[in-house]
Amino acid sequence: MRFGVVIFPGSNGDHDALTSVELGLKEEVVPIWHKDTTIGECDALLIPGGFTYGDYLRAGAIARFSPIMAAVEEFAHNGGPILGMCNGFQILTEAGLLPGALLPNAELTFRCEWINVRVETDRTPFTAAIDPGTVLHLPIAHGQGRYVVTPQQLAELEANDQIVFRYTDAQGQEHDDYNPNGSTAHIAGVCNQRGNVVGLMPHPERAYDALIGGDEGLKILRSVVQADLMAVRG
């Protein structure tokens, strides 16, 4: 399976996204420059973390207008799997491919640490091979991860099964103390209605090797490979 990693000015998680697929998943992966207008032969897209355009104005606000985004939207509309991680998540919400918005953390400082998220649904290609309820140990590193939606949007997300990850403790229990940024309803990641576009604040692409603190991010990346194989089988 072939992954594409979209690189914008100020992306800095592109290296981790590329190496997690290459060294962790051992699948094929290619960089895609934001000035390109096509994404070529890719089966899945990763929108990496970083500070595109310095996160100036709003995180992801300027990057969403890059030339490549038209092709990304088309890929999304054709049902292609897209995973936005951290800044990638922010770009996808700014682009309207995912609901809600990401604001500065409640405590107003950047936060980098290993946390736990609970997988809420297996309807997305990035969680298809993970049992709902599974707790994943992943790093976060962001200053603007407070996920915000209106109450009725939240109701819709719940109704449509669009909440993909929630912050929890190691046992999978939700408490406010384990919500690192003040996100609404402890939401760490969501998907679009169709389920093929997923965004999350944590960094699965930094968790692909026990040597660097954990490898549970691979479950998310591997999931899309298996989903793809199943799709191929029919």
Binding site: R58, F65, G100, A101, P104, A106, L108, R146, V148, G182
Partner: protein, 95 residues
């Protein structure tokens, strides 16, 4: 780099005031309010933090400037999901 615009018309200053929607939590505003109170400003009731953008542009008229900046706000400068904005236009003496 300083670029002289080729456009005709004159220079306007558009001031854009961006606020978070009332329904959206504003921890920064709360932190500032608490900071002020701890400095002894007991009469502070609330603080909301937003953005103040000064856009200098050339336009045919004040209305044209307003129309352009309105489009900029809807497209890029603000996020309708969480923000509202106001615009004020003033003419600049030409350099």
């Amino acid at each position: 780099m300083i670029e002289e615009s080729t456009a005709t018309g004159r220079s306007y200053l558009a001031e854009v005031f961006v606020s978070l929607k009332a329904a959206v939590n504003d921890p920064q505003g709360l932190a500032i309010r608490d900071g002020l109170r701890s400095l002894g400003y007991a009469d502070v009731e609330a603080v909301r933090a937003g953005k103040y953008l000064r856009v200098t542009l050339r336009a045919a008229s004040s209305d044209d400037a307003h129309a352009q900046v309105t489009r900029m706000c809807d497209q890029l400068l603000t996020n309708p999901v969480i923000e509202t904005y106001q615009i004020s236009i003033t003419v600049l003496a030409d350099h």
